[in-house]
C-alpha cells in the first residue's frame, strides 16, 4: 500500500516529522472500537478502522490530501479570528476569550473552518471543511463568514463548491449571533444555487444541529461517510432528553440514507473519484455550458489568485 498522506500527520496517531516514514512498531487505537492497528496501516487506510469500519476524523491536511490534487489547495483568509460578540464571560466560568485561546493552543488552529481554491482531478473548485479539533467544529462568526465567503467565491468564479462538514452545531458562546449564521450560510448556499453552480456537501463524523440544519443539508448532492453520526439532535442528546436507549444505528450515515436524507454513503477510498465524477456530470450540463445566469465560462477563471475581499463587519 502506498503511503497516502503527503505530509506528517499530527494528532492521535502519533505524528512523525515531515517526510519521515512512520516507524513499523507504532500503534493506533480506534476511537470507536478500541482495536489496535499499526500506525502505518491506519494511515494508509485513510484512518478507517479495519475492524469496525469507523471513519476517524481527518485533519485539514489529511482531508485535503484525500480529496484534492496535490499542491492545488490555496487557503484564503487563514488568519480570520473570532470576535466575542456577547462579551461572554460569566463570573466563575471560563470566558469565550479564554476558551478560544485554549482551543487555539490545543489544536494549533485559529478556527474550526478553512476554505480556499483547490482542484479535484484537475477540476477547479472551492473547497471548505470544518474541523472538530477546534471548538468541536462549532459554528460561530468565523465559520459562518468563511462558509458564506466560500459560497460567494464559488458563485462569482463559477467553481463548484465542496464542503466537508463536522460539527457539534452552533457555538453557544456566540449566542444568537451563532444561531443566525445558519441563516447567513443557508442564504449564501441559495445564492450559489441561483447561479446554478453545483455544491457537494460531505457529512463526516459527527455533523449535527445547526450545521446540518443549514448549509450541510442543502447540497445538490449530499454524501455521508460510513458510520458518521449525522442528524439534528444526535443520539446522545436524544437519549438524555427521552431517557430511551437508542439503537446503535440511530442518526448514522446509513440511517439517514435509509430515511432519504443523504444521496449516498461513500467509502473514504472512493471519495475523490465519486466527487470528481459528480463534478464532471454537473459541470457538463446546459446550465453550466450556457453559464446561466452569469456570462463567464466555468473553466476560464483565474486559478489561484486571491479574490478581492468582500465587505465584512466586525
Amino acid at each position: 500500500m502506498r503511503s497516502f498522506f503527503r505530509r506528517a500527520v499530527p494528532g492521535d496517531s502519533g505524528s512523525a516529522p515531515g517526510g519521515t516514514a512512520i516507524p513499523d512498531d507504532m500503534w493506533v487505537r480506534c476511537p470507536r472500537c478500541r482495536e489496535l492497528t499499526y500506525a502505518r496501516e491506519w494511515e494508509s487506510s485513510f484512518k478507517v478502522c479495519a475492524k469496525c469500519g469507523y471513519n476517524a476524523p481527518l485533519s485539514a491536511q489529511e482531508r485535503i490530501a484525500l480529496l484534492l490534487d496535490e499542491g492545488s489547495f490555496h487557503e484564503l483568509d487563514a488568519g480570520m479570528r473570532s470576535g466575542d460578540p456577547l462579551r461572554f464571560a460569566p463570573a466563575g466560568r471560563p470566558s469565550y476569550h479564554d476558551k478560544l485561546a485554549q482551543w487555539t493552543a490545543d489544536s494549533g488552529l485559529s478556527e474550526a473552518c478553512i476554505y480556499g481554491r483547490g482542484r479535484v482531478d484537475g477540476i477547479p473548485t472551492v473547497f471548505s471543511m470544518l474541523d472538530m479539533s477546534f471548538f468541536a467544529g462549532t459554528m460561530g462568526s468565523v465559520v459562518g463568514e468563511k462558509i458564506a465567503r466560500a459560497c460567494e467565491l464559488a458563485r462569482d468564479e463559477r467553481r463548484p463548491l465542496i464542503i466537508c462538514s463536522a460539527s457539534g452545531g452552533a457555538r453557544q458562546q456566540e449566542g444568537s449571533i451563532a444561531l443566525l449564521q445558519m441563516a447567513k450560510t443557508a442564504a449564501a448556499v441559495r445564492s450559489l444555487g441561483r447561479a446554478r453552480v453545483p455544491y457537494i456537501s460531505v457529512l463526516t463524523d459527527p455533523t449535527l444541529a445547526g450545521v446540518t440544519a443549514s448549509f450541510a443539508a442543502l447540497g445538490d448532492c449530499v454524501i455521508a461517510e460510513p458510520g458518521a453520526v449525522v442528524g439534528f439532535a444526535g443520539p446522545r442528546l436524544i437519549e438524555q432528553a427521552t431517557g430511551e436507549k437508542l439503537p446503535p444505528s440511530a442518526d448514522t450515515a446509513e440511517f439517514q440514507l435509509e430515511h432519504g436524507m443523504v444521496d449516498m454513503v461513500v467509502l473514504r477510498r472512493d471519495l475523490r473519484a465519486v466527487v470528481a465524477g459528480l463534478l464532471r456530470l454537473f459541470l457538463d450540463t446546459a446550465a453550466i455550458r450556457s453559464s446561466r445566469p452569469l456570462s463567464d465560462g466555468l473553466l476560464q477563471v483565474p486559478e489561484d489568485e486571491p479574490v478581492s475581499a468582500p465587505v465584512v463587519a466586525g
Binding site: 441563516a183 442564504a187 443549514s214 436524544i238 465584512v312
Partner: protein
C-alpha cells in the same frame, strides 16, 4: 386560572389587597377605604412597573414561558381579521405546534404563520408544547410558497422553546426541514415580518424567522438554545440555566445592542400575560407600521437587503 411567578409576589399581594378593599367598599363604602384604594392602586402600578423594568434574563425566560402569555392564535384573533387556518404539510401530518393561514391585518391580506404552545394539558400535549416536528416546518413552507404565489406579505410569530428532538424527528429529517425553511425564507419573494412573541428558541424559531424586519416583544427571548440546554452544553449542568440565560444575551434589550433585532415592542406593565389586550394593541400597531414600510419597498431591493442583513451578522478579525 392564575399563575404567579416568584418575583411577581409583591404584585400579587397588592392585587389581593386591592380585591379585598374593593369587596369592603362594595359592602360598606367609606372615604378612608376609597383613599386607601387609591394608594394601593398607585402602589400596584408602581410595583408592576418597577418589577418589570428590571427583570433579570432568567425572569424574562419565565415571563416568556408564562402559561397565560398570549400565543399566536390569541393574536390571530385579537389583531387579525378573517384568519383562516390551513392545515397539513400534504405529505405526512398536520402539526399543531405551527399554525397558519391567510388573514387580514388592518384590511390587508397577509399570510400569518406562528408557533402555538397550546393551553391546558391536552391542547399543549397535542401541540408538543410548541416544539414542531419536521412536518410542522413543512406545513409552514407550504404556506410560505402560497404567500409567494399570491403576493401575500408573510407575518410570522415565534414562540417555541426549540425544535423537537426525538428519534422520530430524526427519521423524518428535522435538520433537513429546518434548513429548507431557513433557505426558502432567505429568497422568498414577499415581504417577511417576524415578531418573537415568547420564546424564540434555536433553529426551531429561526425556521420561521428569517425576515426583512425582526421585531421582539419586550419580555420575549431569542436564544441559540433553551437556557437549560445551553447550560448543559456549556457547563454540563442544566441547573445553571439562569446563569446561561444571562450569558447568552437573550433579552430584547441585549439583542437590540447586538443589532440582531430591529425593534422592541413594549409590553404593558406586568407583561403581556397581565394585559393581553394591551399587548395585542402594541403588537398590532408595530405590525401595521412595519408592514406599510415593507410594502413600499420594491421586492428586488427587499431581497438584496434581506441577504445583506444576514450576510453581515458576525464578529471577527482578519
Amino acid at each position: 386560572m392564575s399563575v404567579v411567578l416568584d418575583f411577581e409576589r409583591p404584585i400579587a399581594e397588592l392585587q389581593k389587597r386591592l380585591e379585598a378593599l374593593e369587596k369592603q367598599i362594595a359592602a360598606h363604602p367609606k372615604p378612608e377605604l376609597e383613599a386607601e384604594r387609591g394608594v394601593v392602586v398607585a402602589d400596584l402600578e408602581r410595583t408592576r412597573r418597577d418589577v418589570y423594568r428590571d427583570l433579570s434574563p432568567w425572569q424574562k425566560v419565565q415571563v416568556a414561558r408564562h402559561a397565560l402569555r398570549p400565543q399566536t392564535l390569541d393574536y390571530a384573533k385579537a389583531i387579525f381579521t378573517e384568519f383562516t387556518e390551513f392545515h397539513g404539510d400534504r405529505a405526512y401530518a398536520d402539526d399543531g405546534a405551527i399554525v397558519g393561514g391567510p388573514a387580514r391585518l388592518n384590511g390587508r391580506v397577509v399570510m400569518l404563520v406562528g408557533h402555538q404552545r397550546g393551553k391546558g394539558t391536552k391542547d399543549s400535549v397535542s401541540r408538543n408544547f410548541g416544539q414542531p416536528h419536521p412536518e410542522g416546518y413543512r406545513k409552514a413552507l407550504r404556506l410560505f410558497r402560497q404567500a409567494e404565489k399570491f403576493g401575500m406579505p408573510l407575518v410570522t410569530l415565534l414562540d417555541t422553546p426549540a425544535a423537537s428532538a426525538g428519534l422520530a424527528d430524526e427519521e423524518r429529517g428535522q435538520a433537513w426541514a429546518l434548513a429548507e425553511n431557513i433557505a426558502a425564507m432567505a429568497e422568498l419573494q414577499v415581504p417577511i415580518l417576524t415578531v418573537i412573541i415568547g420564546q424564540g428558541g434555536s433553529g426551531g424559531a429561526l425556521a420561521l424567522g428569517v425576515a426583512d424586519r425582526l421585531l421582539m416583544l419586550e419580555h420575549a427571548i431569542f436564544s441559540v438554545a433553551p437556557p437549560e440546554a445551553a447550560a448543559n452544553i456549556l457547563w454540563k449542568d442544566s441547573k445553571l440555566a439562569p446563569e446561561a440565560a444571562a450569558a447568552l444575551r437573550l433579552t430584547a434589550q441585549d439583542l437590540v445592542d447586538l443589532e440582531v433585532i430591529d425593534r422592541i415592542i413594549p409590553e404593558p406593565p406586568g407583561g403581556a400575560h397581565a394585559d393581553q389586550a394591551g399587548a395585542a394593541e402594541a403588537l398590532r400597531e408595530a405590525l401595521v407600521e412595519e408592514l406599510g414600510s415593507l410594502e413600499a419597498t420594491p421586492m428586488d431591493r427587499l431581497l438584496s437587503q434581506r441577504y445583506a442583513k444576514y450576510r453581515r451578522i458576525g464578529t471577527f478579525y482578519e
